[in-house]
Amino acid sequence: MDSTLPEDVLAMIGVEKIRLYDVTKRDIRRFSQAIGETNPIHFDEDYAKSSKYGTIVAPPLFCQMFTFEDVPADQLPDDGSPIEIDVPLPARRTVGGASSYEIFQPVKAGDRITVKSSLRDVFAKEGRTGRLYFVVVETEFSNQENEPVAKETATYIKRV
């Protein structure tokens, strides 16, 4: 934790948000189309039946579909960036960053996914063109059996 950061930023760290999503075949099909995935295991039931899964499964990073809370647009920052990283920092632009994504089991249609998300850390570094702020968000996904499905730790970079 970076003690040079404003108190209100530090107070946001570790606060958990929980929400639920029901996965449909259409969700899996649309996500597959959006990532350009053509493997029939994600949309063709007959093909999927003969696979080792016995049913349609989602692509590995599918839970990205539930990473951002679906709040109305007027609740987002002006740049439309996700509310998960809406931290009061003296920085305007949000860029790329990094991700570490673990997959514990494939997601199937009919799964009810619990999404647990929290800000894990915020820290600053001096970059070549000024101060950079790193915002780390952890998101855990579990299914209706309370089994872990996936976990992502994403690091976003904010700059002036």
């Binding site: 649309r30 996500f31 189309q33 959006a34 990532i35 350009g36 995935e37 493997n39 696979s51 080792k52 692509p59 590995p60 990073l61 990205q64 579909m65 990473t67 951002f68 679906d70 647009a73 987002l76 740049d79 439309g80 960036s81 996700p82 305007r92 632009r93 949000t94 790329g96 960053g97 990094a98 991700s99 570490s100 994504y101 673990e102 997959i103 994403a154």
Partner: protein
């Protein structure tokens, strides 16, 4: 497709993973924003992106991750599972440009429940400049007698 089944045993360290080239266009970037409910303006408004110092709308970090995931899943098929993928974006990727994904086996791990391959992965643009790099863990089931 006629190839031998991939096993942990038959993949040597340093082996190359078959390359994957993709070329996400504006429609795909838009579809990915829509499906992930990502309203960040740098992914759909060129004006907003340019105003932030970017050359054009940029391909999402998360979408680049899916290309790296597909590099692995196209290669392993149903022989194994992608267990973990970590990647860092170091350069903007722009719509309409090729992204070349490559991988190499860096290490092999034999644990009690699973045998894993640790793979280095990269995504580069058409000028061979690095867009993202990271690591993937591929897990093979082990059927050990418990007897």
């Amino acid at each position: 497709m006629g190839q031998d089944k991939l096993t942990w045993e038959n993949v040597p360290v340093n082996a190359q993973i078959p390359e994957l080239t993709v070329c996400p266009d504006n429609t795909q970037v838009f579809m990915f924003s829509a499906v992930t409910w990502n309203r960040h303006h740098i992914h759909y408004s060129k004006d907003a992106a340019v105003n932030e110092g970017l050359p054009d709308v940029v391909v999402q970090r998360a979408l680049i991750g899916n290309f790296l995931a597909r590099l692995i899943t196209d290669w392993i098929g149903e022989s194994a599972e992608l267990r973990k993928l970590a990647w860092k974006v170091t350069r903007s990727a722009l719509p309409g440009r090729d992204i070349v994904c490559r991988g190499r086996i860096k290490d092999k791990i034999d644990s009690e429940d699973e045998k894993c391959l640790i793979c280095e992965v990269t995504a580069s643009n058409g000028n061979d400049e690095l867009i993202a790099s990271g690591a993937a863990t591929v897990a093979f089931k082990v059927n050990r007698a418990t007897g």
